[in-house]
Symmetry: C2
Subunit: 220 residues, 2 copies
């Protein structure tokens, strides 16, 4: 039984620790939670007490197995609700994150598993992020960044690594959404910007900053 605040810390530690499950610093947590480092330290003590994190003073934190399990449950709930809002309620992909931040704390497993079935067991959310399974494992897809795609290669957009709504709205307008086909037409060496052909249409220009935050996989 973790409180809403505890769940948010676990989720955040999961995200900040990255694929390599590196230690997360107190200051990084303070920045993301919009609180002060002293408050974070208090919470870390509590989470360590509950065996949800490995914590030694001044050493940063990692999730325990139990902590990771709980973080993945929160992330699973978040992403399933996002799918629900986009697929069933007609929200745009750039609108759903803040509401999912609230819905993710409704704890009923029965609710979430029925929702999962209602949505036909989606494997990823509207931004292409994988949805953890009910048993608590995260399906890790090996997408790569659009900016690393070679000239003339054709790829499919699978997701994004930046979720700011302004970025998502830009992508919608450009047609760069999960499922779109992209061919790299030109790469400018000096600023790494690209000309790309989206779904076979006229080439468009995107900056390296944009290309870096688009996840793609090779055409099948």
């Amino acid at each position: 039984m973790a409180s809403l605040t505890e769940e948010n810390y676990l989720k955040l530690i999961y995200h900040l620790s990255g694929a390599l499950r590196e230690e997360v610093s107190t200051s990084a947590l303070a920045e993301q939670t919009q609180t002060k480092a002293a408050s974070v330290t208090d919470m870390l003590k509590k989470l360590a007490e509950k065996n949800l994190i490995h914590y030694k003073r001044y050493q940063g934190v990692r999730l325990t197995e139990e902590g990771e399990y709980m973080a993945l449950k929160v992330i699973r709930r978040h992403r399933l609700w996002e799918v629900f809002m986009v697929e069933k309620l007609g929200f745009r992909w750039d609108e759903v994150h803040p509401i999912a931040e609230e819905l993710e704390h409704i704890a009923s497993d029965e609710l979430i598993n029925r929702l999962d079935a209602f949505l036909n067991f989606p494997v990823s959310d509207p931004h292409g992020d994988p949805i953890p399974t009910a048993s608590g494992s995260m399906p890790e897809a090996d997408y790569h960044k659009l900016c690393d795609t070679s000239l003339n290669d054709q790829v499919t957009v699978m997701g994004v690594s930046e979720h700011a709504s302004s970025f998502l709205q830009f992508l919608s307008k450009a047609g760069l959404v999960p499922g779109s086909t992209v061919q790299v037409v030109e790469i400018n060496a000096f600023d790494r910007s690209m000309q790309i052909r989206i779904n076979g249409l006229e080439p468009s220009f995107i900056s390296h900053e944009v290309a870096r935050n688009i996840l793609v996989s090779p055409e099948s």
Copy 2:
């Protein structure tokens, strides 16, 4: 911006004040919230401060117009989520109340209005309770109690006034759910128990206690 706890108090005051909008006592609130009277007094002061209730010491409380508006929003959210869970996720009507108690505090109007549309603007929840409109008015239906139905009259079950899951499960088993047709076949004067014919089938026996908590309207 009312907190989760404040929302629960407003909803409770609404329910306890009844159709006549009578004053609600501190002790009634303490009993229902599973807290002590002293704690209730603290909260009443805060709600009065925010102009959500009319409160004079020792006099009980009533909702202000603004307080009632907020209570109705919470009740609207609760009942829409109940419809969602039963209609879309396949929950039984006796399972949804505790989960709706959590979902009702997700505040987004956009979410609720889209959910309302997705559900085809239902007018009542799975227990027959009316769903307040987006503008904050409660459609009051003039149902009467099954126990007040005259011998041989035929009526339609519209809802219930008791929501305990054991009661709801009993009704499901008996086929006494909203929409069922009931004809009163016999009334026992000494204990006011009844023989009733449900959907034209063989007569069943129900106690006054059961009949008192079933809401019906005359056959059209």
